[in-house]
Subunit: 702 residues, 2 copies
């Protein structure tokens, strides 16, 4: 009966369409393990009455019932073995174990402890914490242990987040469109009356990986969001998210007072403007008492900002911070600011913000992208990390689809983030990693944070390509604990999403771990970057924007001699934005890592690389390797036919076909275009491109 | 185990989110009936190997397995009782029953016969047809019998469609946005490689109600659709739909040759233009051998057309028809054409197209909206019905969300369509109903058809409000057989969608049958119409468009004396576009039905209505009745708490709240605005509006 139902369900369009994400609570497939779990889990007891505890209780019940395939009773006393007891320490007075108490004292407001204990002479499993939200995080963690087939007989887990603010930044417009592919999950039209089930499932997924903040709308903010009507809608969303420990933040348009009132200016020094923001903040807190604060993109890419009134970024930011201060709200001020046609756009954020270190109010954090430019497949870390000891810097990451190939390409990004976290800034000597800047240990930041630009859209599986889910998952996991490796996270995610069968885990792990480097290779090898056009996706040739730095040649600087942007001291000297050991490494052609070579150096085509090949040949090999890497992934995926759900298999196969064509377009377009400068032949071992350069240019004109 | 799984599924976000539509094959809940069905159905045998038969076999299997809760074996011989035998007559030679054969001969290419028979001395149920698509329609019909708990022991069903072309018209743009609410289900970006499971489920749903044609894109057609790239994507969709008997049609931009080639004109007389279309048609048929033809909106609301070159609508249409003719493709030419600032826009389509009757090629049909204007909650039927004996006229209906309140309002539209079908044109004397025009019996049309402007979007439940599904369902059912009543259809749909329990059916039936008249009452009672603004949804006061007929006062003509558009012989004489008995009825104030009164007459505020009330009072009462009707629906829905799935209950309750607020806006906005002309008090029994007129005007300025 059971099997029949599942098959029917799958066939009748009631399939697992990916909507459940990694929160699948299907029956444990390993019969022996199932028996073992059932021996250890007879019932559950979840103490407390808050909305958070109610949600945690519900989650534990759904999870256990599904995973164990039978109804796990909720009990009120520990009078048998095998009870999973969950609750904050104040709600479970029967827990007097000294080790447990001491561990709980270490985990702060959000952490949790999971432990096998003997209480009342009964063997139980305890999930506890100082606060109810910690209990919820613990419940999700415990369910994950079962989902990933871990031993639960000798648990002693003590876990707390290394970073305080773990944020989703949705770049969604109020009309339902997005900056990134797909359409928004927010249906502003039916809010506040209709709170979709999807909002709750979104909250569950975020809470399961510890995400605790959310800005639902585009950083190119619409003033409309600040109207009474929209704030009412936002408040309804905040009500949905509150039990899951997720606070609401709003993107603020700096011009809002001028757009929404009779005030003729948005000058941060203007008393009327200050008053308007104070009143607006009061209004917001009256609707959303735990409102988090504002996320602001100012004087960037056409957005309004304080510089419109000859005030500094700090002036504008601090004015908003002052309004938020009575409520302990914060401003997340983005450092993605640059002039058009700068000498070196990669220098801009540092040049603008470094001098302002220490000039920001205490409730301000600066939000800095991982690299100096804009979400490229590989960038060196931003020199602002480590350079702002007196102003908390939080990191902004791209969860995938943006610069990295729509929501189609398979690209597991945790290895990229890991690379950034592990980079050494040398700000306070060796070992001053970016991770230590971001988790606050290096400079003692009073606020720490990380923001992921969301890859979530209205597709039934949330992210288009199912592997997009892995970036959401990994972002949460790394935000909680950046010491977990990207490979460990991938392993967890595969087990929860696909299977615990190693014959499925291993090939998928191989796919994921190779995927990001493939993208680097077929798009931007050896430190190249920003080769898309300003209105098309491929376009190293695009050179017709009036914004110089919106043109590809601005970045690659290919000429008859060589290729690459000279950021050494003989060029833009951007290397000197880094601390001396790093600067020195990048400055010298011989010590600069080849993966970053053309980011920092203009290198002759015939320069001899470590491999012994010329730069030109090496570049060609990288481009071809990228396409081959996609082909390898296609082969591995094909071997999984029959092992993963049919619809899922078909979708991924189709999307890989598109990615493969895309990779060829990148490879051939770039190689043919750069060849017009190098005037060197493509190495004969490599198959010559099938199409002429002109074909690619015609299809991607600007 | 079984129950546990379902509960888990529902709670873990794996709920029935409406995606399955009416094709739910859950276990028959009535134990006695289940036993009876199981006695009659032991196995199935589906003969034939076409893709259509394979899909029918799959559907029958899924359906029976789900409904009967056990695996129904597929067998190859009739050697026991209780086999459901399906296949076209040529594939089931064992069927020699004379009655059956004679019935099959009556049902044409798409019809089917379902019958209990004795074959080889075994009791079987036969589903047969002349063609495989008929078998598929029969399979869906048979499953519906089980879903709606019908007796299947004495079946003798002989069914064939009364109308040949039963079309979905999606008004979807290539970037994924729609003219109507929500986003498109077509992901052009990933086609042709990725064929979503959703496309198949969309095809299944359409086939289940007999829909056999599809134009996927906006009638404001983008030339891009005609490029090789997009035609490849369309062809991939056509491949998905073909097994389900659904043919692909394309919206054609009349200017395409000029936009996509070096030709400097789109003049239908120009040889190069003709050649371009011929080549384009050849290209399309090489990709889609069963391509249906073009759907064209020309010289309407800014779209290009033959009149740009001083050629007639017929000239333009026939040029396209000629290109399609070698392949038996057709042109669906829309009659939604009007000049800006006409004396009476309701006259326009008739005045333009009536003189062209008989001037169209034999592979042309004219697509006419049900009413003379534009998808209002109530319009009299278009006078073109019955006026074009020499040119096939097909009907265009709105499946809901457009003019009728986004995808939020609950409005079951089959009663509106029924009203139109049953209207008597008197074209050939009494009994010349619109239905007879459309099904071709009145004028012997060689092609018959009906098109529904789709209400399907990317929401997981397809239509936003679940009741939107009922319009999709009813459109298909009425297109197949317009003699079924709207109430019968609602009953079927409720049983398939919600429950066979009469304590659920009856209240929902009451809701549905009342819903459309409510909308008429709170928006456009007594024949009023077109009271929305040109950029807002509410706006009887909107009068600032340079297109006179885009302004509300153009339509309602309210002044100090009265209200309504004089279309009698002393006015625009539009009444004379109808045949004399109809014209006479509309012409006279005393015989004109009150529901259409202000459509045809400018009536004094103090005119005495049949109720004895003045027009003004009657108007007020209607507006208030509309809001009360929504309140009644809210009450009935509330009584269903616990009886319908929780998430579904909550959604509908929230949407009804929005609709209620909307209804109040319509009522109070209109009553207060019209009061500025009537200068009469709102009857004292009616509660005075809470807001001032100015409030509504400020929020809906244009």
């Amino acid at each position: 009966m059971f099997i029949t139902f599942i098959l029917v369900a799958v066939n009748s369009g009631y399939a697992d369409d990916g909507y459940r994400l990694w929160l699948k609570y299907d029956l444990i497939s390993d019969v022996g393990l199932l028996k073992e779990y059932k021996n250890l889990i007879h019932a559950s007891m979840v103490k407390g009455e808050s909305a958070t505890i109610q949600a945690a209780r519900n989650e534990l019940q759904i999870g256990l019932n599904g995973l164990l395939g039978s109804t796990i009773l909720l009990v009120n006393n520990v009078n048998e073995n095998g009870i999973v007891v969950a609750g904050s320490v104040k709600n479970i007075p029967l827990l007097q174990d000294a080790d447990l108490i001491s561990n709980v004292m270490k985990v702060g407001d959000e952490g949790f402890v999971i432990s096998n204990l003997i209480v009342n002479r009964k063997k139980i499993i305890v999930i506890t914490a100082n606060q109810d939200i910690g209990v919820m995080y613990g419940v999700f963690h415990f369910l994950k242990l079962l989902q990933t087939h871990q031993d639960i007989s000798t648990l002693n887990i003590v876990s707390s987040p290394k970073i305080k603010l773990r944020m989703q930044n949705h770049w969604d417009n109020l009309n339902g469109t997005r900056v990134y592919p797909g359409f928004s999950i927010w249906d502003w039209h039916t809010l506040p009356q209709y709170k979709k089930r999807r909002y709750i499932d979104y909250a569950r997924a975020n809470a399961s990986v510890g995400i605790n903040g959310l800005a639902p709308t585009n950083v190119n903010a619409e003033p409309l969001l600040m109207t009474q009507e929209f704030l009412g809608k936002v408040a309804a969303l905040a009500d949905v998210f509150r039990p899951y420990g997720i606070r609401m933040y709003l993107t603020a348009n700096f011009d809002a007072p001028r757009k929404l009132s009779d005030i003729k200016t948005a000058d941060p020094y203007d008393p009327q403007v200050k008053e308007w923001w104070k009143n607006k903040v009061n209004e917001i807190y009256s609707l959303i008492p735990d409102f988090g604060g504002f996320l602001v993109k100012a004087n960037s890419e056409g957005e309004p900002g304080p510089q419109d009134y000859n005030k500094s970024q700090a002036d504008g930011c601090n004015m908003l911070a002052e309004a938020l201060s009575p409520y302990n709200g914060i401003v997340m001020w983005r450092c993605f600011v640059y002039d058009y046609n700068p000498k070196d756009r990669a220098r801009e954020a540092y040049d603008i913000f470094k001098p302002l270190d220490g000039k920001f109010a205490s409730n301000v954090v600066l939000q800095v992208k991982n690299g100096p430019l804009d979400f490229q497949p590989r960038e060196p870390f931003s020199p602002l990390f480590g350079a702002m000891p007196n102003t908390p810097v939080i990191m902004e990451l791209d969860l995938g689809p943006g610069a990295l190939g729509h929501d189609i390409g398979l690209s597991y990004l945790a290895p990229m983030w890991e690379e950034c976290f592990n980079s050494d800034t040398y700000a306070k000597g060796k070992g001053s990693t970016v991770a230590k800047v971001i988790d606050g240990t290096l400079d003692g930041y009073r606020i720490t944070g990380i923001a992921g630009v969301s890859n979530i859209n209205a597709e039934s599986n949330w992210t288009g390509n199912t592997f997009g889910q892995s970036n959401w998952y990994a972002f949460g996991r790394l935000s909680w604990d950046h010491s977990i490796t990207s490979e460990q996270i991938a392993d967890e995610w595969i087990r929860m999403t696909f299977s615990n069968d190693t014959s499925i885990i291993n090939p998928i792990l191989k796919i994921m771990m190779a995927s990001r480097e493939n993208v680097v290779n077929y798009r931007d090898p050896l430190g190249l970057n920003m080769l898309g056009g300003w209105s098309v996706y491929h376009g190293p040739w695009v050179n017709n924007s009036t914004h110089g730095d919106w043109n590809s040649p601005y970045y690659h600087r290919a000429d008859s001699i060589g290729i690459g942007f000279d950021r050494t001291r003989s060029g833009s000297a951007a290397v000197d934005q880094y601390y001396p050991p790093v600067a020195q490494q990048y400055e010298s052609l011989s010590t600069c890592p080849e993966k970053d070579l053309l980011w920092f150096h203009h290198v002759p085509w015939t320069y001899k690389m470590k491999s012994g090949k010329t730069l030109w040949d090496e570049l060609c090999y990288h481009y071809y390797k990228g396409v081959e890497g996609v082909e390898d992934i296609q082969k591995i995926w094909s071997s999984l036919k029959g092992k993963v759900e049919e619809d899922e298999f078909d979708r991924e196969q189709a999307l890989l076909k598109i990615q493969h064509a895309d990779a060829i377009t990148w490879r051939d377009g770039c190689v043919l275009y750069f060849q017009t400068f190098s005037r060197l032949p493509i190495p004969t071992e490599l198959k010559a491109p099938e199409r002429e350069l002109q074909y690619y240019i015609i299809h991607n004109p600007m």
